[in-house]
């Protein structure tokens, strides 16, 4: 690998967040465990919460897949050329226009698929991912095989996802980092001219915004 490819693992992680490290000693942890347990018992006794609800609730937040945000961005770009222009120029701002934010200092860049060019997003070193718009990364996105093969053999990777591109279509691979998170603006499928923005939103899959599939009219 060339010398200019110097960003180490830390460059790919989100900006340093001191809370990602555990600070408590085993004694402190045990005391906190007790304190929360007592609080939970108190609130359950008061009838304010149920323990079962709490388990489900954490699951909801931990498995927050919500690529719906990205789908709304794509559908808006399809129906509103002025929005699409803003999106391709300054994706962070255009995405924020729709009320989606939560990135911690990273910039969004949206790359457009056309009949001539297909874009594919990867994070070669870890799993940088635009989660506020796409939700949590799928397991394969973090897989070493996907990360390395996308660069060496992108067409092969796409074939594995069931996408056979014409030889004439160029494939561009975008390596996400801590500073820049890429998202693909897929092509609007033919025959969707009469569909509403809401109907279009439902067509847009997470995988199409990573660039491993195209958007199909009927899914």
């Amino acid at each position: 690998m060339s010398d200019d490819h110097t960003h180490g693992h830390s460059a790919h992680d989100a900006p340093p967040n001191p809370y990602l490290e555990k600070h408590t000693t085993p004694e402190q942890t045990a005391a906190l465990e007790k304190r929360v347990q007592a609080l939970e018992s108190l609130l359950v006794a008061k009838g304010l919460v149920s323990s079962e609800t709490l388990d489900k609730l954490v699951e909801t937040y931990e498995n927050d897949l919500g690529p719906i945000n990205g789908a709304k961005v794509v559908a808006r770009a399809w129906v509103d050329p002025a929005y699409k222009e803003r999106l391709l120029k300054d994706a962070t701002a255009a995405i924020a226009e729709l009320g989606f934010s939560g990135l911690q200092g990273e910039h969004m860049v949206v790359v457009e698929n056309t009949p001539d060019t297909h874009n594919l997003v990867v994070c070669t070193l870890c799993s940088c991912y635009p989660w506020p718009v796409l939700g949590l990364p799928p397991a394969w996105f973090k897989d070493a095989a996907y990360r390395s093969r996308s660069v060496v053999d992108p067409r092969g990777v796409l074939r594995d996802f069931g996408l056979e591109l014409d030889e004439s279509t160029a494939v561009k691979v975008w390596d996400s980092s801590a500073e820049i998170r890429y998202m693909v603006l897929p092509e609007r499928p033919v025959g969707t001219e009469d569909m509403s923005e809401e109907e279009l939103t439902a067509l847009v899959s997470r995988d199409s915004m990573i660039g491993v599939t195209k958007v199909e009219k009927n899914t």
Binding site: Y19, T24, P26, R35, V36, L43, T53, T60, G102, K142
Partner: protein
């Protein structure tokens, strides 16, 4: 209970932002998950507005940052320690619990955050940890 996350909670920004790694929430211990769930559940049930809780959280984090700016040796509480302290404050504020109930049930409560006066330089004995 809602089946989708509240964006106001999951997309908090700045100091209050939930610790995440590649988008996934980071919990170090089981109690952090529980504390997270308690605060969110009570808000979903309308016991308080999310901003009521978040304001406490931002203040807690800001106070700790200020304390460390004055004294680099000040303790560094984790995100969910701030979270738990904020939850207790909002519960008292909204009359859902009393200070006494929290302490009576919570045993020792918050450990003292300041080192003992006198400035003894004796190092804190390290806790033996099983390998």
């Amino acid at each position: 209970m809602k089946s989708t996350p509240d964006r106001k909670i999951s997309n908090m920004e700045g100091d209050a932002a939930l610790p995440r790694k590649s988008g996934e929430l980071v919990f170090h211990d089981a109690w952090e998950r529980r504390a997270f769930a308690l605060a969110v559940a009570l808000c979903e049930q309308g016991q308080y507005q999310w901003d009521d809780f978040r304001d406490h959280l931002i203040a807690e984090i800001g106070d700790a940052d200020a304390a460390r700016a004055d004294n680099p040796d000040a303790p560094f509480p984790g995100y969910y320690e701030h979270w738990l302290a904020s939850l207790e404050k909002v519960l008292i504020e909204k009359g859902l619990c009393t200070q006494d109930q929290l302490r009576a049930d919570g045993g020792e409560g918050t450990p003292p955050q300041t080192p003992p006066p006198g400035g003894s330089q004796r190092p804190v004995p390290r806790v033996p940890r099983p390998i």
